[in-house]
Amino acid sequence: MSWAGWLRLIVVSGAVLLLEVLCRAGVIAKTVLPAPSVMAGDLYRLLASGAASADIGETLGNVAMAVIASILLGFIGGVAIHAMPRVRRALDPFLATYYAVPFFVFYPVLIVIFGLGAAPIVVIGTLFGVVAMLINTLNGLDRIPRVLLKTARVHGMDPVRTALMVKLPSAAPFLFTGAKLAIAYCFIGVIAAEFIMSSSGIGYSIAYAFNNFDNARMYALMLFIIVLVTVLNAVLFTWERRIMQRRRR
Protein backbone atom coordinates (compact mmCIF):
# COMPACT_ATOMS: atom_id res chain seq x y z
CA MET A 1 0.00 0.00 0.00
CA SER A 2 1.18 3.53 -0.75
CA TRP A 3 2.06 6.11 1.89
CA ALA A 4 -1.16 7.99 1.12
CA GLY A 5 -3.10 4.74 1.44
CA TRP A 6 -1.70 4.11 4.90
CA LEU A 7 -2.48 7.69 5.89
CA ARG A 8 -6.10 7.30 4.77
CA LEU A 9 -6.41 4.06 6.70
CA ILE A 10 -5.01 5.73 9.83
CA VAL A 11 -7.38 8.71 9.51
CA VAL A 12 -10.48 6.54 9.07
CA SER A 13 -9.65 3.98 11.76
CA GLY A 14 -8.55 6.80 14.07
CA ALA A 15 -11.91 8.53 13.63
CA VAL A 16 -13.82 5.30 14.36
CA LEU A 17 -11.65 4.67 17.40
CA LEU A 18 -12.20 8.22 18.67
CA LEU A 19 -15.95 7.81 18.27
CA GLU A 20 -15.76 4.52 20.17
CA VAL A 21 -13.87 6.15 23.03
CA LEU A 22 -16.21 9.14 23.19
CA CYS A 23 -19.28 6.88 23.27
CA ARG A 24 -17.84 4.52 25.85
CA ALA A 25 -16.77 7.43 28.05
CA GLY A 26 -20.31 8.81 27.92
CA VAL A 27 -19.33 12.07 26.18
CA ILE A 28 -21.79 11.11 23.45
CA ALA A 29 -25.05 9.86 24.93
CA LYS A 30 -26.28 6.38 24.00
CA THR A 31 -29.57 7.85 22.88
CA VAL A 32 -27.72 9.97 20.34
CA LEU A 33 -25.22 7.48 18.97
CA PRO A 34 -24.32 3.95 19.99
CA ALA A 35 -20.62 3.09 19.99
CA PRO A 36 -19.37 1.76 16.59
CA SER A 37 -18.70 -1.67 18.10
CA VAL A 38 -22.26 -1.79 19.41
CA MET A 39 -23.54 -0.72 15.98
CA ALA A 40 -21.60 -3.52 14.32
CA GLY A 41 -22.97 -6.02 16.85
CA ASP A 42 -26.53 -4.78 16.25
CA LEU A 43 -26.03 -5.10 12.50
CA TYR A 44 -24.70 -8.64 12.90
CA ARG A 45 -27.70 -9.67 15.00
CA LEU A 46 -30.12 -7.93 12.61
CA LEU A 47 -28.68 -9.73 9.59
CA ALA A 48 -28.46 -13.06 11.43
CA SER A 49 -32.08 -12.84 12.60
CA GLY A 50 -33.25 -12.26 9.04
CA ALA A 51 -35.60 -9.52 10.25
CA ALA A 52 -34.27 -7.05 7.67
CA SER A 53 -33.73 -9.49 4.81
CA ALA A 54 -36.95 -8.65 3.00
CA ASP A 55 -36.28 -4.90 3.15
CA ILE A 56 -32.67 -5.31 2.04
CA GLY A 57 -33.71 -7.60 -0.80
CA GLU A 58 -36.35 -5.16 -1.94
CA THR A 59 -34.02 -2.17 -1.90
CA LEU A 60 -31.27 -4.00 -3.77
CA GLY A 61 -33.84 -5.18 -6.29
CA ASN A 62 -35.07 -1.62 -6.82
CA VAL A 63 -31.53 -0.31 -7.18
CA ALA A 64 -30.69 -3.07 -9.65
CA MET A 65 -33.72 -2.23 -11.79
CA ALA A 66 -32.95 1.49 -11.66
CA VAL A 67 -29.29 0.83 -12.58
CA ILE A 68 -30.19 -1.37 -15.54
CA ALA A 69 -32.80 1.13 -16.76
CA SER A 70 -30.40 4.09 -16.29
CA ILE A 71 -27.53 2.43 -18.13
CA LEU A 72 -29.66 1.16 -21.01
CA LEU A 73 -31.72 4.33 -21.46
CA GLY A 74 -28.71 6.57 -20.90
CA PHE A 75 -26.61 4.68 -23.44
CA ILE A 76 -29.33 4.41 -26.08
CA GLY A 77 -30.36 8.04 -25.50
CA GLY A 78 -26.75 9.18 -25.71
CA VAL A 79 -26.15 7.34 -28.97
CA ALA A 80 -29.39 8.69 -30.46
CA ILE A 81 -28.76 12.29 -29.40
CA HIS A 82 -25.17 12.09 -30.63
CA ALA A 83 -26.45 11.07 -34.05
CA MET A 84 -28.69 14.18 -34.20
CA PRO A 85 -26.52 17.27 -33.69
CA ARG A 86 -29.43 19.71 -33.99
CA VAL A 87 -31.52 17.92 -31.39
CA ARG A 88 -28.42 17.85 -29.24
CA ARG A 89 -27.90 21.60 -29.48
CA ALA A 90 -31.51 22.07 -28.44
CA LEU A 91 -31.20 19.64 -25.52
CA ASP A 92 -27.80 20.73 -24.24
CA PRO A 93 -29.04 23.36 -21.74
CA PHE A 94 -31.50 20.86 -20.29
CA LEU A 95 -28.80 18.26 -19.84
CA ALA A 96 -26.42 20.79 -18.31
CA THR A 97 -28.97 21.93 -15.72
CA TYR A 98 -30.65 18.57 -15.19
CA TYR A 99 -29.21 17.87 -11.77
CA ALA A 100 -30.30 21.28 -10.53
CA VAL A 101 -33.89 19.96 -10.42
CA PRO A 102 -34.91 18.43 -7.06
CA PHE A 103 -36.87 15.46 -8.45
CA PHE A 104 -38.38 14.67 -5.09
CA VAL A 105 -40.87 17.49 -5.46
CA PHE A 106 -42.53 15.27 -8.06
CA TYR A 107 -43.10 12.44 -5.63
CA PRO A 108 -46.85 13.06 -5.22
CA VAL A 109 -47.20 13.10 -9.00
CA LEU A 110 -45.27 9.86 -9.31
CA ILE A 111 -47.44 8.21 -6.70
CA VAL A 112 -50.55 9.37 -8.53
CA ILE A 113 -49.22 7.96 -11.79
CA PHE A 114 -47.53 4.76 -10.60
CA GLY A 115 -49.28 4.08 -7.31
CA LEU A 116 -47.55 3.00 -4.11
CA GLY A 117 -45.02 0.24 -4.49
CA ALA A 118 -41.77 -0.34 -6.32
CA ALA A 119 -42.58 1.48 -9.57
CA PRO A 120 -42.29 5.15 -8.45
CA ILE A 121 -39.13 4.28 -6.47
CA VAL A 122 -37.46 2.71 -9.47
CA VAL A 123 -38.55 5.71 -11.56
CA ILE A 124 -36.91 8.15 -9.12
CA GLY A 125 -33.74 6.04 -9.04
CA THR A 126 -33.68 5.96 -12.84
CA LEU A 127 -34.26 9.73 -13.08
CA PHE A 128 -31.17 10.15 -10.91
CA GLY A 129 -28.98 7.73 -12.81
CA VAL A 130 -29.96 8.07 -16.44
CA VAL A 131 -28.53 11.49 -17.27
CA ALA A 132 -25.12 10.70 -15.75
CA MET A 133 -24.93 7.76 -18.15
CA LEU A 134 -26.28 9.82 -21.05
CA ILE A 135 -23.82 12.68 -20.58
CA ASN A 136 -20.88 10.30 -20.30
CA THR A 137 -22.02 8.41 -23.39
CA LEU A 138 -22.10 11.69 -25.35
CA ASN A 139 -18.70 12.60 -23.95
CA GLY A 140 -17.23 9.23 -24.92
CA LEU A 141 -18.62 9.42 -28.45
CA ASP A 142 -17.33 12.99 -28.84
CA ARG A 143 -13.83 11.91 -27.96
CA ILE A 144 -13.44 9.11 -30.44
CA PRO A 145 -10.44 10.31 -32.48
CA ARG A 146 -11.53 10.95 -36.07
CA VAL A 147 -8.43 9.22 -37.35
CA LEU A 148 -9.69 5.94 -35.84
CA LEU A 149 -12.93 6.27 -37.80
CA LYS A 150 -10.90 6.95 -40.94
CA THR A 151 -8.85 3.85 -40.17
CA ALA A 152 -12.06 1.83 -39.95
CA ARG A 153 -13.06 3.12 -43.39
CA VAL A 154 -9.65 2.27 -44.83
CA HIS A 155 -10.25 -1.29 -43.61
CA GLY A 156 -13.62 -1.30 -45.35
CA MET A 157 -15.63 -1.73 -42.14
CA ASP A 158 -19.40 -1.21 -42.29
CA PRO A 159 -21.16 1.06 -39.76
CA VAL A 160 -22.16 -1.80 -37.46
CA ARG A 161 -18.65 -3.22 -37.26
CA THR A 162 -17.22 0.27 -36.85
CA ALA A 163 -19.61 0.86 -33.95
CA LEU A 164 -18.79 -2.43 -32.23
CA MET A 165 -15.07 -2.66 -32.88
CA VAL A 166 -13.92 0.94 -32.94
CA LYS A 167 -16.48 3.33 -31.43
CA LEU A 168 -17.50 1.17 -28.48
CA PRO A 169 -14.01 0.29 -27.23
CA SER A 170 -12.82 3.83 -27.85
CA ALA A 171 -15.65 5.28 -25.76
CA ALA A 172 -15.44 2.52 -23.14
CA PRO A 173 -13.63 4.51 -20.41
CA PHE A 174 -16.38 7.14 -20.47
CA LEU A 175 -19.14 4.55 -20.56
CA PHE A 176 -17.58 2.94 -17.51
CA THR A 177 -17.49 6.26 -15.68
CA GLY A 178 -21.13 6.82 -16.63
CA ALA A 179 -22.15 3.40 -15.33
CA LYS A 180 -20.25 3.95 -12.08
CA LEU A 181 -21.97 7.29 -11.51
CA ALA A 182 -25.35 5.82 -12.47
CA ILE A 183 -24.94 3.12 -9.81
CA ALA A 184 -24.10 5.70 -7.14
CA TYR A 185 -26.99 7.98 -8.14
CA CYS A 186 -29.46 5.09 -8.26
CA PHE A 187 -28.58 4.15 -4.69
CA ILE A 188 -29.16 7.74 -3.57
CA GLY A 189 -32.42 8.05 -5.51
CA VAL A 190 -33.88 4.71 -4.44
CA ILE A 191 -33.06 4.96 -0.73
CA ALA A 192 -34.17 8.57 -0.48
CA ALA A 193 -37.42 7.72 -2.29
CA GLU A 194 -38.04 4.86 0.11
CA PHE A 195 -37.84 7.34 3.00
CA ILE A 196 -40.79 9.35 1.76
CA MET A 197 -42.91 7.21 -0.52
CA SER A 198 -42.69 3.60 0.50
CA SER A 199 -43.82 1.11 3.10
CA SER A 200 -40.87 -1.23 2.75
CA GLY A 201 -37.18 -1.23 1.85
CA ILE A 202 -34.08 -0.06 3.72
CA GLY A 203 -34.93 3.65 3.43
CA TYR A 204 -38.39 3.05 4.87
CA SER A 205 -36.96 0.83 7.65
CA ILE A 206 -34.53 3.54 8.70
CA ALA A 207 -37.31 6.14 8.78
CA TYR A 208 -39.58 3.73 10.68
CA ALA A 209 -36.88 2.95 13.25
CA PHE A 210 -36.21 6.66 13.66
CA ASN A 211 -39.88 7.41 14.33
CA ASN A 212 -39.99 4.62 16.91
CA PHE A 213 -36.79 5.55 18.74
CA ASP A 214 -35.27 2.22 17.68
CA ASN A 215 -31.68 3.47 17.61
CA ALA A 216 -30.14 0.01 17.43
CA ARG A 217 -31.96 -0.91 14.22
CA MET A 218 -31.62 2.54 12.65
CA TYR A 219 -27.85 2.76 13.07
CA ALA A 220 -27.36 -0.87 12.09
CA LEU A 221 -29.14 -0.24 8.78
CA MET A 222 -27.22 2.99 8.20
CA LEU A 223 -23.97 1.13 8.76
CA PHE A 224 -25.13 -1.57 6.38
CA ILE A 225 -25.76 0.94 3.58
CA ILE A 226 -22.44 2.71 4.10
CA VAL A 227 -20.47 -0.55 4.10
CA LEU A 228 -22.36 -1.89 1.08
CA VAL A 229 -21.82 1.23 -1.05
CA THR A 230 -18.17 1.48 -0.02
CA VAL A 231 -17.46 -2.14 -0.94
CA LEU A 232 -19.33 -1.80 -4.23
CA ASN A 233 -17.38 1.31 -5.17
CA ALA A 234 -14.08 -0.29 -4.20
CA VAL A 235 -14.85 -3.26 -6.46
CA LEU A 236 -15.80 -1.01 -9.40
CA PHE A 237 -12.77 1.18 -8.85
CA THR A 238 -10.41 -1.79 -8.80
CA TRP A 239 -12.02 -3.25 -11.91
CA GLU A 240 -11.84 0.05 -13.75
CA ARG A 241 -8.20 0.52 -12.82
CA ARG A 242 -7.33 -2.95 -14.00
CA ILE A 243 -8.94 -2.27 -17.37
CA MET A 244 -7.51 1.22 -17.73
CA GLN A 245 -3.95 0.77 -16.55
CA ARG A 246 -2.93 -0.68 -19.89
CA ARG A 247 -4.63 2.13 -21.80
CA ARG A 248 -3.56 5.19 -19.89
CA ARG A 249 -0.34 6.15 -18.31
Binding site: P145, R146, V147, L148, K150, T151, R153, V154, H155, G156, M157, R161, M165, V166, P169, S170, A172, R246, R247, R248, R249
Partner: protein
Protein backbone atom coordinates in the same frame (compact mmCIF):
# COMPACT_ATOMS: atom_id res chain seq x y z
CA UNK B 1 4.43 22.55 -68.58
CA UNK B 2 1.20 21.63 -70.35
CA UNK B 3 3.03 20.05 -73.25
CA UNK B 4 5.05 18.12 -70.74
CA UNK B 5 1.96 16.67 -69.11
CA UNK B 6 0.45 15.83 -72.49
CA UNK B 7 3.63 14.04 -73.54
CA UNK B 8 3.50 11.96 -70.37
CA UNK B 9 -0.08 11.00 -71.08
CA UNK B 10 0.86 9.72 -74.54
CA UNK B 11 3.58 7.65 -73.01
CA UNK B 12 1.12 6.09 -70.60
CA UNK B 13 -1.43 5.39 -73.27
CA UNK B 14 1.21 3.47 -75.16
CA UNK B 15 2.18 1.61 -72.00
CA UNK B 16 -1.51 0.86 -71.40
CA UNK B 17 -1.39 -1.63 -74.25
CA UNK B 18 1.13 -3.75 -72.30
CA UNK B 19 -0.07 -6.47 -69.91
CA UNK B 20 1.43 -4.55 -66.96
CA UNK B 21 0.36 -0.93 -67.37
CA UNK B 22 2.65 1.69 -65.94
CA UNK B 23 -0.27 3.80 -64.74
CA UNK B 24 -1.23 2.72 -61.23
CA UNK B 25 -3.54 5.46 -60.10
CA UNK B 26 -4.83 8.50 -61.87
CA UNK B 27 -6.63 11.71 -61.09
CA UNK B 28 -8.28 13.54 -64.00
CA UNK B 29 -9.53 17.09 -63.55
CA UNK B 30 -10.19 16.47 -59.87
CA UNK B 31 -11.58 19.31 -57.77
CA UNK B 32 -12.88 19.27 -54.24
CA UNK B 33 -15.13 22.05 -53.05
CA UNK B 34 -16.47 22.04 -49.51
CA UNK B 35 -19.92 23.57 -49.14
CA UNK B 36 -21.79 25.21 -52.00
CA UNK B 37 -19.61 26.74 -54.73
CA UNK B 38 -20.08 30.50 -54.97
CA UNK B 39 -22.00 30.63 -51.68
CA UNK B 40 -19.19 30.63 -49.19
CA UNK B 41 -17.99 27.19 -50.30
CA UNK B 42 -14.28 26.53 -49.97
CA UNK B 43 -12.48 25.46 -53.10
CA UNK B 44 -9.89 23.23 -51.43
CA UNK B 45 -8.34 21.42 -54.35
CA UNK B 46 -7.81 21.41 -58.04
CA UNK B 47 -8.34 20.95 -60.78
CA UNK B 48 -5.59 18.34 -60.48
CA UNK B 49 -4.32 15.92 -63.09
CA UNK B 50 -1.95 13.40 -61.62
CA UNK B 51 -0.65 10.02 -62.66
CA UNK B 52 1.10 7.67 -60.27
CA UNK B 53 3.31 5.16 -62.04
CA UNK B 54 3.35 1.62 -60.80
CA UNK B 55 6.05 1.11 -58.18
CA UNK B 56 7.25 4.69 -57.96
CA UNK B 57 7.84 6.75 -54.85
CA UNK B 58 5.93 9.97 -55.35
CA UNK B 59 5.89 12.84 -52.91
CA UNK B 60 3.59 15.83 -52.76
CA UNK B 61 4.84 19.08 -51.28
CA UNK B 62 2.97 22.33 -50.98
CA UNK B 63 2.30 25.27 -48.72
CA UNK B 64 0.20 24.58 -45.64
CA UNK B 65 -3.53 24.48 -46.27
CA UNK B 66 -3.09 23.89 -50.02
CA UNK B 67 -5.22 20.76 -50.07
CA UNK B 68 -2.53 18.09 -49.78
CA UNK B 69 -4.58 16.03 -47.35
CA UNK B 70 -7.69 16.56 -49.48
CA UNK B 71 -5.72 15.17 -52.42
CA UNK B 72 -4.92 12.07 -50.38
CA UNK B 73 -8.51 11.70 -49.17
CA UNK B 74 -9.81 11.87 -52.72
CA UNK B 75 -7.21 9.47 -54.10
CA UNK B 76 -7.82 6.93 -51.33
CA UNK B 77 -11.59 7.05 -51.72
CA UNK B 78 -12.15 8.50 -48.24
CA UNK B 79 -13.64 11.55 -49.90
CA UNK B 80 -15.53 11.98 -53.16
CA UNK B 81 -14.28 14.63 -55.60
CA UNK B 82 -16.69 17.41 -56.53
CA UNK B 83 -15.51 17.21 -60.12
CA UNK B 84 -13.30 14.90 -62.11
CA UNK B 85 -12.49 11.24 -61.80
CA UNK B 86 -10.16 9.04 -59.79
CA UNK B 87 -9.04 5.59 -60.82
CA UNK B 88 -6.89 2.91 -59.21
CA UNK B 89 -5.60 0.03 -61.32
CA UNK B 90 -7.93 1.06 -64.09
CA UNK B 91 -11.08 0.97 -61.96
CA UNK B 92 -12.89 4.08 -60.76
CA UNK B 93 -12.57 4.92 -57.06
CA UNK B 94 -15.97 5.92 -55.73
CA UNK B 95 -16.51 6.77 -52.08
CA UNK B 96 -14.90 3.58 -50.81
CA UNK B 97 -11.26 2.69 -50.17
CA UNK B 98 -10.38 0.03 -52.76
CA UNK B 99 -8.67 -3.22 -51.81
CA UNK B 100 -4.95 -2.84 -52.24
CA UNK B 101 -4.81 0.73 -50.95
CA UNK B 102 -3.25 1.37 -47.55
CA UNK B 103 -3.26 4.70 -45.73
CA UNK B 104 -1.01 5.95 -42.92
CA UNK B 105 -2.16 9.14 -41.20
CA UNK B 106 -0.26 11.86 -39.39
CA UNK B 107 -2.21 11.43 -36.17
CA UNK B 108 -1.70 8.48 -33.87
CA UNK B 109 -4.14 5.93 -35.30
CA UNK B 110 -3.25 3.02 -33.02
CA UNK B 111 -6.14 1.48 -31.11
CA UNK B 112 -5.25 2.12 -27.45
CA UNK B 113 -7.22 -0.89 -26.22
CA UNK B 114 -5.26 -3.37 -28.34
CA UNK B 115 -1.70 -4.62 -27.96
CA UNK B 116 0.86 -3.88 -30.66
CA UNK B 117 0.31 -7.38 -32.01
CA UNK B 118 -3.49 -7.05 -32.11
CA UNK B 119 -3.23 -3.58 -33.63
CA UNK B 120 -1.14 -4.94 -36.49
CA UNK B 121 -3.40 -7.98 -36.94
CA UNK B 122 -6.55 -5.80 -36.89
CA UNK B 123 -7.07 -5.46 -40.64
CA UNK B 124 -6.20 -9.09 -41.36
CA UNK B 125 -8.73 -10.34 -38.83
CA UNK B 126 -11.41 -8.06 -40.29
CA UNK B 127 -10.61 -9.46 -43.71
CA UNK B 128 -11.00 -13.01 -42.41
CA UNK B 129 -7.48 -14.12 -43.22
CA UNK B 130 -6.48 -17.59 -42.02
CA UNK B 131 -5.01 -17.44 -38.44
CA UNK B 132 -1.77 -19.19 -39.40
CA UNK B 133 -1.27 -16.66 -42.20
CA UNK B 134 -2.04 -13.77 -39.79
CA UNK B 135 0.56 -15.17 -37.39
CA UNK B 136 3.11 -15.35 -40.18
CA UNK B 137 2.50 -11.87 -41.58
CA UNK B 138 2.30 -10.14 -38.21
CA UNK B 139 5.48 -11.85 -37.00
CA UNK B 140 7.24 -10.57 -40.10
CA UNK B 141 5.80 -7.05 -39.81
CA UNK B 142 6.60 -6.73 -36.10
CA UNK B 143 10.18 -7.65 -36.87
CA UNK B 144 10.28 -5.37 -39.92
CA UNK B 145 9.37 -2.29 -37.90
CA UNK B 146 11.65 -3.35 -35.02
CA UNK B 147 8.93 -3.86 -32.41
CA UNK B 148 9.48 -7.57 -31.71
CA UNK B 149 10.08 -6.90 -28.01
CA UNK B 150 6.95 -4.76 -27.79
CA UNK B 151 4.45 -7.13 -29.41
CA UNK B 152 2.53 -7.51 -26.14
CA UNK B 153 2.81 -3.84 -25.14
CA UNK B 154 -0.05 -1.37 -25.37
CA UNK B 155 0.33 1.85 -27.41
CA UNK B 156 0.57 4.03 -24.28
CA UNK B 157 3.83 2.29 -23.46
CA UNK B 158 5.34 3.33 -26.79
CA UNK B 159 6.90 6.55 -28.08
CA UNK B 160 5.28 8.53 -30.91
CA UNK B 161 7.70 7.08 -33.46
CA UNK B 162 7.01 3.53 -32.31
CA UNK B 163 3.26 4.08 -32.54
CA UNK B 164 3.66 5.35 -36.08
CA UNK B 165 5.64 2.18 -36.82
CA UNK B 166 2.69 0.16 -35.52
CA UNK B 167 0.45 1.98 -38.00
CA UNK B 168 2.91 1.35 -40.81
CA UNK B 169 3.08 -2.34 -39.87
CA UNK B 170 -0.72 -2.52 -39.75
CA UNK B 171 -0.80 -1.18 -43.31
CA UNK B 172 2.10 -3.36 -44.44
CA UNK B 173 0.48 -6.69 -43.42
CA UNK B 174 -2.45 -5.97 -45.73
CA UNK B 175 0.04 -6.12 -48.63
CA UNK B 176 -1.18 -2.88 -50.21
CA UNK B 177 -0.16 -2.16 -53.78
CA UNK B 178 -0.58 1.57 -53.21
CA UNK B 179 0.48 3.12 -49.91
CA UNK B 180 -0.66 6.65 -49.15
CA UNK B 181 1.04 8.47 -46.30
CA UNK B 182 -0.32 11.77 -44.98
CA UNK B 183 2.60 13.51 -43.24
CA UNK B 184 3.27 10.34 -41.26
CA UNK B 185 6.34 11.78 -39.55
CA UNK B 186 4.92 15.25 -38.98
CA UNK B 187 4.68 14.79 -35.23
CA UNK B 188 8.14 13.27 -34.80
CA UNK B 189 11.48 14.86 -33.97
CA UNK B 190 14.14 15.41 -36.65
CA UNK B 191 16.33 12.39 -35.86
CA UNK B 192 13.38 10.02 -35.69
CA UNK B 193 12.10 11.42 -39.00
CA UNK B 194 15.40 10.59 -40.68
CA UNK B 195 15.35 7.02 -39.40
CA UNK B 196 11.69 6.59 -40.31
CA UNK B 197 12.49 7.91 -43.80
CA UNK B 198 15.06 5.17 -44.30
CA UNK B 199 12.59 2.59 -43.02
CA UNK B 200 10.00 3.86 -45.43
CA UNK B 201 12.44 3.42 -48.32
CA UNK B 202 13.14 -0.12 -47.14
CA UNK B 203 9.40 -0.81 -46.96
CA UNK B 204 8.91 0.60 -50.45
CA UNK B 205 11.68 -1.56 -51.91
CA UNK B 206 10.58 -4.75 -50.18
CA UNK B 207 6.89 -4.48 -50.99
CA UNK B 208 7.29 -3.13 -54.50
CA UNK B 209 4.25 -0.97 -53.76
CA UNK B 210 3.57 2.44 -55.23
CA UNK B 211 4.02 5.07 -52.54
CA UNK B 212 2.54 8.54 -52.35
CA UNK B 213 3.90 10.60 -49.48
CA UNK B 214 2.36 13.90 -48.47
CA UNK B 215 4.87 16.05 -46.64
CA UNK B 216 5.67 19.64 -45.87
CA UNK B 217 9.36 18.83 -45.39
CA UNK B 218 11.16 19.61 -48.65
CA UNK B 219 14.31 17.69 -47.67
CA UNK B 220 12.21 14.65 -46.88
CA UNK B 221 10.59 14.81 -50.31
CA UNK B 222 13.95 15.37 -52.03
CA UNK B 223 15.57 12.47 -50.22
CA UNK B 224 12.87 9.83 -50.53
CA UNK B 225 11.16 10.34 -53.86
CA UNK B 226 11.50 9.27 -57.46
CA UNK B 227 9.21 12.11 -58.36
CA UNK B 228 7.90 15.13 -56.51
CA UNK B 229 4.68 16.98 -57.23
CA UNK B 230 4.73 20.61 -56.17
CA UNK B 231 1.36 22.09 -55.27
CA UNK B 232 0.20 25.69 -55.48
CA UNK B 233 -1.49 27.51 -52.65
CA UNK B 234 -5.23 26.91 -52.27
CA UNK B 235 -7.01 25.76 -54.35
CA UNK B 236 -4.12 23.34 -54.73
CA UNK B 237 -3.00 22.39 -58.20
CA UNK B 238 0.13 20.51 -59.22
CA UNK B 239 2.34 23.26 -60.65
CA UNK B 240 5.38 21.14 -61.34
CA UNK B 241 6.55 17.55 -61.32
CA UNK B 242 10.24 17.01 -60.61
CA UNK B 243 12.14 13.78 -61.33
CA UNK B 244 14.92 13.20 -58.82
CA UNK B 245 16.70 10.40 -60.70
CA UNK B 246 17.78 8.58 -57.53
CA UNK B 247 18.68 4.88 -57.79
CA UNK B 248 16.19 2.45 -56.21
CA UNK B 249 18.79 1.43 -53.62
CA UNK B 250 19.14 4.61 -51.61
CA UNK B 251 19.01 5.92 -48.08
CA UNK B 252 19.36 9.16 -46.15
CA UNK B 253 23.07 9.36 -47.07
CA UNK B 254 22.07 10.88 -50.43
CA UNK B 255 21.39 14.02 -48.44
CA UNK B 256 25.09 14.80 -48.77
CA UNK B 257 25.04 14.71 -52.59
CA UNK B 258 25.05 17.86 -54.69
CA UNK B 259 21.92 16.83 -56.56
CA UNK B 260 20.04 16.68 -53.26
CA UNK B 261 20.88 20.32 -52.57
CA UNK B 262 19.84 21.31 -56.08
CA UNK B 263 16.48 19.54 -55.82
CA UNK B 264 15.76 21.02 -52.41
CA UNK B 265 16.70 24.48 -53.65
CA UNK B 266 14.46 24.10 -56.67
CA UNK B 267 11.55 22.95 -54.52
CA UNK B 268 12.06 25.92 -52.25
CA UNK B 269 12.14 28.39 -55.17
CA UNK B 270 8.89 26.94 -56.48
CA UNK B 271 7.24 26.97 -53.09
CA UNK B 272 8.46 30.33 -51.81
CA UNK B 273 5.97 32.35 -53.80
CA UNK B 274 3.15 29.89 -53.10
CA UNK B 275 3.87 29.84 -49.40
CA UNK B 276 3.89 33.62 -49.25
CA UNK B 277 0.56 33.64 -51.09
CA UNK B 278 -0.83 31.08 -48.65
CA UNK B 279 0.33 33.24 -45.75
CA UNK B 280 -1.30 36.28 -47.32
CA UNK B 281 2.05 38.03 -47.82
CA UNK B 282 2.33 37.80 -51.61
CA UNK B 283 3.61 40.78 -53.56
CA UNK B 284 4.01 40.52 -57.32
CA UNK B 285 6.69 38.29 -58.81
CA UNK B 286 9.82 37.60 -56.80
Amino acid sequence: MKANVAAKRDLHEEAGANPAPAVHAELKGVSRIYGVPGQGGVHALGPVDLTLRKGEFFSVVGPSGCGKSTLLDVLSGLSVPTEGSVSFEGKPVAGKVPDGVGVVFQEDATFPWLTVWDNIAFGLRRAGVDPAEIERRVTYAVGFVGLKDFAKAYPVQLSGGMRQRVCIARTLVMRPRLILLDEPFGALDAQTRLIMGDELLKLWRETGATVMLITHALDEAAMLSDRIGVMSSRPGRIIEEIETGWPRERDSRIASEDAFGQITARLWRLLREESLKAAGLAGGGS
